[in-house]
């Protein structure tokens, strides 16, 4: 038998590849060192900046000890950021950019501004460590970058350092023209910079490019090259998911799906496919805490801002012209700004995006959109509905909408071409923007009219608009539940409102937390203590052992009991709570993490009702962040929450007591269905007996 063993040969290849690649990575770099260790730029470099006096006038350069070359280096203070404008040949081509840093981590990127720089960055390429370094501490960052003619108008090299660092030896070397498929046709119908019709059409962009704002843009420059020891790196990263990721139900359902993308890594032949596959694997874990992001999420502005907010609901006025989808709720306009709204108004309906239901379309973007909002449960999509406008701005080509007037009359399904209806907006041009908070209306005197909170931890409260002061119906509108010590963050504001309700003898409180961003349990504890009778709720347990999978109910009960004995129990409420006789309506829509726990703590209290269209996110965990030079960041949940029944909670949000969908017929008349249902309930003179359900929320 002379068949060659694949394993043997492959491993031999891997070793050879590693050795050769290390050589190659050095050889590929033009700049190099003389035998005495002196650094020298490549004679053919198209950009060679030593940060010597006059190289970059007025830049914060200064003499440093053992500079990479010359006498001086660019010096960044902690949290410092510097941009250096450079010129590159206008012809589309591939370049190799490199720079050396010392003393601290830096995010170094090439920002290509298109023909209209006011639109912001068209293409972003980041420089990553090559592994080459010097004995005196200089570390090389580099990447191969390609650009099209349109992108090369203005090019800025940007540096940011959180801890401060020295920067020297910036070099750009031309690496030759783009390949024909990258260059595309002369008529601009293919290749980098070619026009495309949204993400659905983006698969015709060259490899390593995506259809953004209707143009094929390079995205391969956002990631490092495929590592020479790819098998080791792939196995190491794949193991991170199996070892760290904790939520049991999502491990059971979603981890196998995530690992499909790991297969793609093993077969990838280009850097974007390889690294995007890993980040896709993380997103496919399908957990509210488990996310990915990159430098581009910080640097690339939305070139097509849309002053519309979408929300899932019941398009009851328009089902004749556009039947409801069997799988997804209708998507409605929650509220709109006065311009950049495509003529849509509150209550209009978004039927399809590029031929698919808006939610189905948004879900499909998991392949390319690194900052797609995740959900732990497998049945709700509030996160995507809230994120829709940003996704549409980047990836959509046509929308199908139904417009309805205040009288409830709706037109036919109308196709809107985004390029015509909503041109890109230059940076700095003002427009009437609005924030999306899943609240079609705000109901407090000092609520921000544009729905944009002054700060992340702003808390708005007071008597509910439209109520009689004698009714003593108070409202609270806020998003954050962060408090590190019970007083910072939203802690003091929540305590202050609790005191107010007590002092004013509030009859009812409507807690409007319809965009709950989470925080810590110290914040909801302030509300639980006031309204809820003391009880043991749940126990969060960190992942204990590699390959732990979902325990049986009996094992789960044992874990719950063990957690109790170790003092790990989440006990909510207080003995004889002062607000036990106050009716509490908790309004929810898109609520994650601590904002999952908030309703969990309230669930079942006699004086409390939860009003929402569906369950919350179900992210009953915490998470850990791992970031590779800010260019590839992934966050993994690593634990799960047990209840007395032995069940685990992650993957199942808290269900509402009263299910209320925003109705198109209400929205078109400027009414807030969920709020009105809550207000009607708190006004009921004789509250019905509260449900005595103590079971696990499902």
């Amino acid at each position: 038998m002379r068949l060659r063993s694949r394993a043997l040969v492959s491993s031999a290849l891997a070793t050879a590849a590693l050795a050769s690649a290390i050589t190659t990575s050095v050889a590929a770099l033009a700049s190099d060192f003389a035998e005495d260790g002196q650094f020298g730029f490549d004679a053919e470099a198209v950009v060679a900046i030593g940060f010597e006096p006059g190289d970059v006038p007025d830049a914060p350069t200064q003499p440093v000890e053992s500079p990479l070359e010359g006498e001086e280096a660019l010096v960044l203070e902690p949290f410092g950021s510097v941009g250096v404008l450079i010129e590159l040949p206008a012809e589309p081509q591939r370049i190799h950019a490199s720079v050396w840093i010392r003393g601290g981590e830096a995010a170094a990127a090439l920002s290509f501004y298109g023909a209209d720089p006011a639109m912001g960055i068209d293409t972003l390429a980041q420089l990553f460590p090559t592994g080459r370094m010097t004995s005196d501490g200089w570390i090389e960052l580099a990447n191969d970058v390609r650009y099209d003619a349109d992108s090369a108008a203005v090019i800025q090299v940007t540096f940011f350092s959180s801890g401060g660092c020295e920067i020297d030896g910036l070099e750009v070397r031309a690496m030759g023209p783009l390949a024909p498929e990258e260059l595309g046709d002369a008529d601009g119908t293919s290749g980098l910079g070619a026009s495309c019709e949204g993400a659905a059409d983006g698969s015709d962009c060259p490899v390593g490019a995506a259809c953004l704002y209707g143009t094929c843009r390079d995205v391969a420059g956002r990631v490092p090259p495929i590592p020479p020891n790819r098998d080791e790196v792939t196995d190491y990263l794949a193991a991170r998911l199996r070892i760290i990721f904790g939520p049991f139900e999502n491990r059971e359902i979603d981890l196998p799906i995530a690992e499909i993308a790991i297969e793609r890594m093993r077969n990838a032949t280009d850097s974007w496919t390889y690294w995007n596959a890993f980040m896709l694997a993380v997103r496919r874990l399908h957990d509210g805490h488990t996310t990915t992001n990159s430098l581009s999420d910080f640097y690339l502005r939305n070139q097509r801002p849309i002053a519309l907010c979408f929300i899932e609901g019941d398009g009851d006025l328009s089902h004749e012209v556009a039947p409801a989808d069997p799988s997804y709720l209708d998507v409605l306009v929650s509220h709109a700004g006065t311009d950049r709204n495509m003529g849509l108004r509150q209550g209009d309906r978004l039927v399809r995006v590029d031929g698919q239901h808006p939610i189905a379309w948004a879900r499909s973007l998991i392949e390319i959109h690194w900052s797609l909002s995740p959900t732990s449960n497998h049945v709700t999509y509030a996160e995507l509905a809230e994120q829709l406008r940003g996704l549409i701005a980047r990836y959509a080509h046509t929308l199908e909408v139904v417009r309805c007037d205040a009288a409830g009359e709706c037109g036919e399904v109308e196709v809107v071409d985004l390029d015509e209806a909503l041109p890109r907006l230059p940076d700095g041009v003002p427009f009437d923007g609005i924030a999306c908070d899943n609240r079609p209306l705000r109901h407090l005197e000092d609520s921000p009219p544009n729905h944009a909170a002054e700060a992340g931890d702003s808390v708005y409260g007071g008597l509910v608009l439209g109520s009689d002061p004698e009714e003593k119906i108070y409202g609270l509108e806020w998003e954050s539940l962060y408090s590190g010590d019970g007083s910072d963050g939203v802690g003091s504001a929540l305590r202050s409102w609790v005191d107010t309700w007590e002092e004013e003898d509030a009859a009812a409180v409507i807690l409007d937390h319809r965009s709950g961003n989470g925080g810590t349990l110290l914040a909801p504890a302030i509300l639980w203590d006031y309204f809820v009778e003391r009880r043991e709720s749940d126990a969060y347990v960190d992942r204990q052992r590699v390959f732990d999978e979902r325990p049986t109910l009996a094992e789960g009960q044992a874990i719950f009991d063990a957690a109790r004995s170790l003092g790990l129990m989440n006990v909510v409420g207080s003995t004889a709570p002062r607000g036990a006789d106050v009716k509490v309506a908790l309004l929810l829509t898109r609520d994650v993490s601590a904002s999952d726990w908030l309703p969990l703590g309230f669930k079942g209290s006699p004086n409390v009702r939860i009003f929402a269209p569906f369950q919350t996110n179900g992210a009953f965990s915490t998470r850990y962040q791992l970031s590779y030079w800010l260019g590839m960041t992934y966050v993994l949940a690593s634990g799960d929450t047990f209840v007395a029944s032995g069940e685990t909670l992650n993957g199942h949000g808290v269900e509402p007591d009263i299910v209320v969908l925003p109705r198109q017929s209400d929205l078109s008349q400027g009414r807030d269905s969920v709020f009105e249902a809550a207000l009607a309930w708190v006004r009921e003179p004789e509250p019905e007996r509260a449900p005595s359900r103590k079971e696990t929320p499902r």
């Binding site: 060679a48 070892i243 760290i244 791992l626």
Partner: protein, 303 residues
């Protein structure tokens, strides 16, 4: 001090009694000679992994007649020691560490991220490593059916390996593990100035954390930490070779680490972060100063 810590300390003392009578007689920290047959493994067995081995000195510097070079050039794997693909630590080589993380795979002091970090050739593998001032705690998981092989490298500033205390903490819901000491393989650093700490802890179901602290002044670098399921051969060596009796100070620090671990349980989102805020400002152009490179730096060779 929690009763848990006392129990653990006791367990360690008992486990040490089988090694050397001198340990029991010694109330304060006294280094215990390696047990017979439990000597330090050969450097081959603890040396750099294949990834770390990819570190090499470039021939671009030095050389006969070239005089003393001002620097030498090295090549490292920018992803660190990935040869340990099944490392049960979240990020044993620190290569995925970021100042922007509000919860990372290593805690330091009271923080859920490193507060002291180092970048460059002084690190042992890859590009990044931790700086030991306040104690650090590495997050890991245990194995349901095998002991845990633990390895970590520390580069001291005083040339001695004796001032460091490493434990594989047991902090979980099963209460079946001890805080297992990880001793130095040798009293002195290797030629590169690194001390290797290594041991195999017995199987435990409790979650594991790698606790690393220094009892001496001066900062030290920590790098290339590994916790993995022990091989059959490694499982034979579960006694803490060359260990010590933890001092009251170390037991208190272990207890403080345990409190830090518990403090960060459960959800934590939305804490203000000056770094992230600065980055967002910079991405908007706020606070980023823009300079124009001189034409002389464009399309021309090196000076």
């Amino acid at each position: 001090m929690s009763s848990r810590s006392l129990v653990n300390a006791g367990l360690v003392a008992v486990s040490l009694s089988s090694l050397s009578f001198g340990v029991i007689a010694c109330g304060d920290e006294e280094q215990v000679a390696p047990a017979s047959g439990g000597g330090a493994p050969s450097s081959a067995s603890v040396g750099p992994t294949s990834s770390a081995a990819s570190t090499s000195t470039s021939s671009g510097a030095g050389g006969e007649g070239a005089g003393t070079p001002i620097r030498t050039i090295l090549q490292r794997d920018p992803f660190g020691n990935v040869a340990e693909t099944q490392n049960l630590l979240w990020d044993g080589d620190f290569e995925w560490e970021s100042a922007f993380a509000d919860q990372y795979g290593w805690f330091q002091g009271q923080s859920a991220n490193l507060t002291l970090r180092h970048l460059g050739p002084d690190c042992r593998s890859g590009l990044k490593c931790a700086v030991l001032g306040p104690d650090i705690i590495g997050l890991a998981v245990s194995s349901a059916d095998r002991g845990l092989y633990v390895s970590a490298w520390i580069r001291p500033s005083d040339g001695s390996c004796e001032g460091f205390r490493l434990f594989l903490l047991s902090e979980g819901i099963y209460s079946d593990g001890i805080d297992f000491p990880i001793p130095a393989a040798a009293a002195a650093p290797d030629d590169a100035g690194w001390c290797h700490f290594e041991a195999t802890a017995p199987q435990r179901d409790d979650k594991s954390y790698l606790f690393i602290s220094s009892t001496v002044d001066g900062e030290a670098l920590v790098d290339d930490a590994v916790v993995r399921e022990a091989t059959d051969g490694e499982e034979q060596r579960v006694e803490p070779r060359g260990a010590w009796v933890p001092s009251a100070d170390v037991i208190e620090r272990v207890d403080a680490a345990r409190q830090t671990i518990r403090r960060w349980r459960g959800p934590h989102e939305g804490a203000p972060h000056p770094g992230r805020d600065a980055m967002q400002r910079a991405s908007r152009g706020d606070g980023r100063v823009l300079y124009e490179a001189s034409p002389r730096t464009m399309a021309r060779g090196a000076r």
